[in-house]
């Protein structure tokens, strides 16, 4: 895996007021990641069915608990999962504070969002963002000014006060 130099980090942001729960992001992700489920779904309420992305935390607890160092924080901010090291122990799924790492193993290992780094290297956006039918997902830059703020609002979900559910 070629490491990239540190840049302004970009993350997938969800505008909950636009998501129509069509699952196009799930399918695009599944099709391009050798049929693995890298996105989780929220299950808060019957009217809320939203995609949940890995937040690629600054101080990622999944990286800290992994016994075989299958998870690593790259210089570009992506928390990368190495398929060849993973032993499928599920420690990371328990450690994840957002519950976005699914305990469902595919071919004995976990599946995790890699921000479609192959697309990023081509200068494109992750597949889930590209395919989003309603424009709910966007790939936005997190400025350094936001750095301190970022962990506090790490869910990275834009919620508007007038959202009706």
């Amino acid at each position: 895996m070629k490491k990239q130099k540190a840049k302004r980090e970009k993350r997938v942001v969800l505008d909950v007021d636009r998501c129509i729960s069509c699952h196009a992001c799930d399918v695009a992700c599944y099709e391009s990641h050798s049929e693995k489920f890298c996105l989780s779904r929220s299950n808060f309420d019957i009217t809320v069915d939203l995609p949940l992305h890995c937040k690629h935390c600054t101080d990622a607890s999944c990286v800290a608990v992994c016994p075989v160092e299958a998870l690593e924080k790259r210089e570009d901010g992506v928390v990368y999962h190495n398929n060849f090291r993973c032993i499928g122990c599920l420690s990371c799924t328990i450690a994840c504070p957002f519950g976005v790492l699914s305990a469902k193993r595919v071919r004995h290992i976990i599946s995790k969002c890699d921000l479609c780094y192959d697309m990023l290297e081509e200068g494109k956006e992750p597949r889930c963002v590209q395919t989003c039918t309603s424009g709910a997902l966007s790939f936005e830059e997190i400025t350094y000014e936001d750095e301190n703020e970022r962990d506090r609002v790490d869910a990275r979900v834009k919620a508007k006060p007038w959202r009706r559910l």
Binding site: D17, R18, I20, S21, C22, H23, A24, D26, V27, A28, Y30, E31, S32, S34, E35, F37, R41, I46, T47, D49, K104, Q130, T131, C132, T133, S134, G135, R164, L165
Partner: protein
């Protein structure tokens, strides 16, 4: 050495026809995983992404369920053998006029539709029809629609669940709503669908949409007045007046109609009334077809034949049936009964499973063929470079050409007529429909669309993405399930027919199901049994909201 082949083409599933790019890297790798040969890219020009069905393009390319060989009388054979074996049978049948019917799917190219018209002349029949049947309603109007103008609209009125049928329209619609303060999004439907979560929703009683629109139309024309305490089809007079005001005051509004099997009663009347409402209020109006090219195919066919075809099939008056682009068992109600009387059934299909027709030809998806389409915006668009198809699969156009040569030795000339539009479409019907439910049938069965399916479901029928759903299911309000002590499976019966369904968890839906409703996802062949129609009042073969009961 490796090289990259690029195929720029169109998504194969709906009338939005999004651009896609398929890239294939040819390399001499010792090992590659399934699907690694092709990669799917989204054309950055359209900025609309792809819906779940569009994303399945990759899966379709390599699907193990694709039919790869032709079949004649249940035996695998080559394409030549299949055509040679079929020709004598067809020649015998076509000695009598109108003895064979041809049904053509709305996913064919204009060229294929033209060839199908030629084939119908050669087969001595006028029985050439379009399916999905509900798309017949759009033949009589011209869509006044463009993606640019949609996202600039100050008002969008959706009739039917547009977000479920064509999810990629969600972005311009939501853009329009949030563009300026005061822009409106109104959803008019018989069920709280996906659009209703984002819109001001008007919930009309199932079966009463046509009546509701006629009341609104008369009010807009000033022909009738509404009493303040009056309720029309479940909507209060005050809200109807409010809606009329919104429609009148909009400067560049867009009305969109989207139907699915079993959802709306009298969709023809609904289209006619919406067309009149848009004229009076000076808003644009468009119908979103289910088929990718139903607009183009329908106009080349040029006649409203679906009802005639279903009538002769039901009366067992014909001997042959040719279905291009689908399995007749999936969409013709009670086809098992009709099938026994037909001497020869020929179908071109994409997937394995329809092994009952006498002759089955493996067919191509649009990204595997050349040709042109009419888009939702009424523009002619060309498909790009075709992707190499699997097995012996050929496009229906090539198949028709080979069949025509085998039948006549030369290509026949076709007469292409222009559809005439039905006169009764503008007529308003002010009669209040009689109640759908009665003591014997206390429920209303309503067809609903889910954006996650195609074909028989082996490939992608999932309500929750990670669960395969091959068994037909319905949604019933959990309170009624508890009250009636229903088990996991129920038999649903309507005056048209009955089928057994699994009761699906309603929490998989983003909306509630009313207590007196059975919501039936329409992509199962079993669902079609419930909505069979004899002679619908406006002549279209798409009945909706039928009375139903649960047989334990």
């Amino acid at each position: 050495m490796s090289s990259v082949e690029e195929y720029r083409t169109k998504c194969t599933f709906c009338s939005v026809q999004d651009d896609i790019i398929l890239k294939r890297k040819s390399t001499k790798a010792a090992f590659f995983e399934k699907g690694s040969l092709f990669k799917l890219y989204y054309d950055e020009k359209s900025k609309r992404g792809l819906c779940p069905r569009g994303n399945f393009t990759l899966e379709l390319l390599n699907s193990p369920y694709r039919l790869r060989k032709a079949e004649l009388f249940g035996e695998e054979c080559s394409l030549d053998e299949a055509i040679k074996g079929s020709v004598p049978e067809l020649k015998r049948i076509i000695e009598k006029k109108n003895n064979v019917a041809i049904l053509l799917s709305g996913n064919h190219t204009l060229e294929e539709a033209y060839l199908a018209k030629t084939l119908s002349n050669e087969l001595n029949t006028e029985l050439l029809g379009l399916f999905p049947f509900e798309d017949e309603a759009l033949l009589s109007i011209k869509n006044d629609f463009s993606f640019n103008s949609l996202s600039e609209s100050d008002l969008v009125v959706t009739v039917g669940d547009v977000f479920s049928i064509s999810p990629t329209l969600a972005r311009p619609i939501l853009d329009a709503r949030s563009k300026k303060r005061g822009n409106r999004l109104i959803s008019l439907d018989i069920i709280k669908g996906r659009v209703s979560l984002f819109a001001e929703h008007f919930n009309v009683k199932p079966g009463y949409m046509s009546y509701f629109l006629s009341v609104l139309l008369n009010f807009l024309e000033g022909k009738s007045k509404l009493k303040s305490n009056e309720t029309v089809a479940g909507v209060s007079a005050m809200r109807i007046k409010e809606m009329a005001e919104i429609l009148k005051n909009s400067e560049n509004g867009q009305i969109l109609f989207s139907n699915i099997y079993g959802h709306f009663t009298n969709p023809y009347s609904i289209v006619g009334k919406l067309s009149s409402i848009s004229e009076i209020t000076e808003n644009r109006f468009a119908v979103v077809p289910l088929g990718q090219n139903s607009l183009g195919v329908g106009r080349i066919i040029g006649d409203f034949n679906n009802k005639k075809i279903l009538d002769v099939l039901k009366a067992k008056k014909i001997e042959g049936l040719i279905v291009l682009g689908g399995d007749p068992f999936e969409f013709i109600p009670k086809f098992e009964d009709i099938f026994g009387y037909l001497n020869f059934v020929m179908s071109t299909v994409f997937f394995k499973g329809s092994n009952l027709s006498e002759c089955i030809i493996p067919s191509n998806f649009s990204f595997e063929k050349k040709g042109s389409f009419i888009s939702l915006e009424e523009k002619i668009v060309n498909l790009g470079e075709p992707v190499p198809p699997v097995g012996d699969a050929i496009s229906d156009g090539d198949f028709i050409s080979i069949l025509l040569s085998a039948l006549s030795g030369s290509e026949a000339k076709a007469r292409v007529s222009i559809p005439q539009g039905l006169s009764f479409i503008k007529e308003t019907d002010n009669k209040m429909p009689s109640s759908i439910t009665d003591k014997k049938y206390p429920f209303t069965a309503v067809g609903i669309g889910l954006p996650f399916h195609h074909d028989r479901g082996e490939v992608s029928r999932r309500v929750k993405w990670n669960e395969q759903k091959n068994e037909p299911y319905v949604f019933i309000n959990p309170c009624r399930v508890k009250e009636l002590s229903l088990g996991s499976k129920v038999k649903i019966e309507t005056p048209n027919g009955s089928s057994v369904f699994k009761i699906e968890d309603c929490s998989n839906l983003p909306f509630d199901i009313p207590e007196d409703m059975i919501a039936v996802p329409v992509h199962f062949p079993e669902s079609a049994q419930l909505f069979l129609c004899d002679s619908d009042s406006d002549g279209i073969i798409s009945p909706g909201a039928v009375k139903a009961r649960i047989v334990k």
